[in-house]
Symmetry: C2
Subunit: 242 residues, 2 copies
């Protein structure tokens, strides 16, 4: 099932501890109402508190005979308005939204102006210094390719293998909105936010492309490789072999 959500009111996508609202929990509650049973919902990604999704995938198994195509409309009558089910389809048994995912695209929205757009409050990160998007996209190419991203991940990660392949990294502008778009076969914990935070420090003139390359090679994160706030981050698309 493909879903879309505003992450502001959720403590991330996956259930962490009782009492914390998560997108996964909201779906399990809605599915219970619609199907009369509570399936174990698998999530494509463990997004943080406040992170949004344009397109996010969940998978679950159920014996209840409901045509997949009808599920989104039925679920949307039960889900809170900041989460919507977009599409559903049958997949082979054993399919897992996270492990079967081939690649993902995240976007990060930066509002590049001294005055924030109130409609983007909590939905984009405000950054006042001017951003030269062409220069930043150029620098961002240091991340493209197969690299060890240990220096671009939080120490809280649980992944053993820190090698990932970034297929594309773009930085574009639409008026005052600057959009960072990155596609990879997988992402370490906080990896997108740290890459964006690093690039924003490059925009501030605090880091050069060469220094970022050095940090990547050293596999040791430095303070200037900051984590950009969650509010600007959106899981934008997930790709499956199906």
């Amino acid at each position: 099932m493909t879903i879309r959500f505003v992450g502001t009111n959720y403590c991330g996508s996956q259930v962490q501890a009782p009492g914390f609202p998560t997108v996964q929990l909201a779906f399990q509650d809605a599915l219970q109402e619609v199907l009369g049973e509570r399936p174990d919902v698998k999530c494509c990604s463990r997004t943080d508190s406040g992170v949004h999704a344009n397109r996010y995938c969940i998978s679950f198994e159920s014996d209840v005979a409901v045509p997949a195509g009808r599920l989104p409309i039925a679920l949307n009558t039960k889900l809170p308005p900041d989460i919507r089910a977009l599409e559903a389809r049958l997949v082979p048994q054993g399919f897992h939204a996270r492990y079967d995912c081939l690649k993902k695209r995240y976007i990060y929205k930066v509002w590049n102006s001294r005055i924030m757009d109130p409609f983007l409050y909590g939905r984009a990160h405000q950054f006042v210094r001017p951003i030269d998007t062409a220069a930043l996209e150029q620098i961002a190419q240091v991340f493209v390719g197969t690299h060890d991203f240990e220096a671009m991940s939080s120490s809280k990660r649980d992944a053993e293998d820190t090698v990932r392949t970034v297929y594309e990294f773009h930085v574009t502008r639409r008026g005052e909105l600057v959009i960072f778009s990155v596609t990879a076969d997988g992402f370490l914990y906080n990896m997108v936010r740290i890459m964006v935070g690093t690039l924003l420090n490059a925009a501030r003139g605090r880091l050069t492309a060469e220094e970022i390359e050095q940090v990547m090679r050293s596999k040791k994160r430095i303070n200037l490789c900051m984590t950009a706030p969650a509010e600007g981050l959106y899981l934008d698309e997930v790709f499956y072999p199906l």
Copy 2:
């Protein structure tokens, strides 16, 4: 001063009764903190609860010597994040944001799909039936020109003179988002929402262009001239002779 706000959390733009949050009240509070005095804030329009503004004007008089250009940034540190001051400038004494306004443009956002975009919840009105924007724009031309808009206003209006001049009415589509855009020298109470509600009933096949013309001529509102919900309405631009 030009401002922008998300109307969701406000009981309209103008102070109505004590204890109700309004945009005007938020500005008076912020101005008091910045200027050390509480100016009487004049609003360009009395928008309803839940109505938004891309650009809205307020005016006030103050003897405090603060350069107008610096006011927005100073005020934004005091205002709630769903209201932002965009620009400020000096105007001749006696200027009034409402009475000196030559014309205004409102837009109305309709999300035309069976599945709502969660990012537009409270910021656009969902309408499921297909909308033929070219056909609706054609019908909307019945409103363009100088007419008595009594049939397109709420009985709660306080205007004596119900004649207004609509300069332009457009209906356009960007994907699933349909935008109604109407510019006039002034609007009666609920006039935009009733014109849009009427056009949506035309999209449902419940009203023809001829019937709308008849209702306009009769000066008596009928039930099919419904008031579209506040959440889709935005004051988009205000025009002054300055």
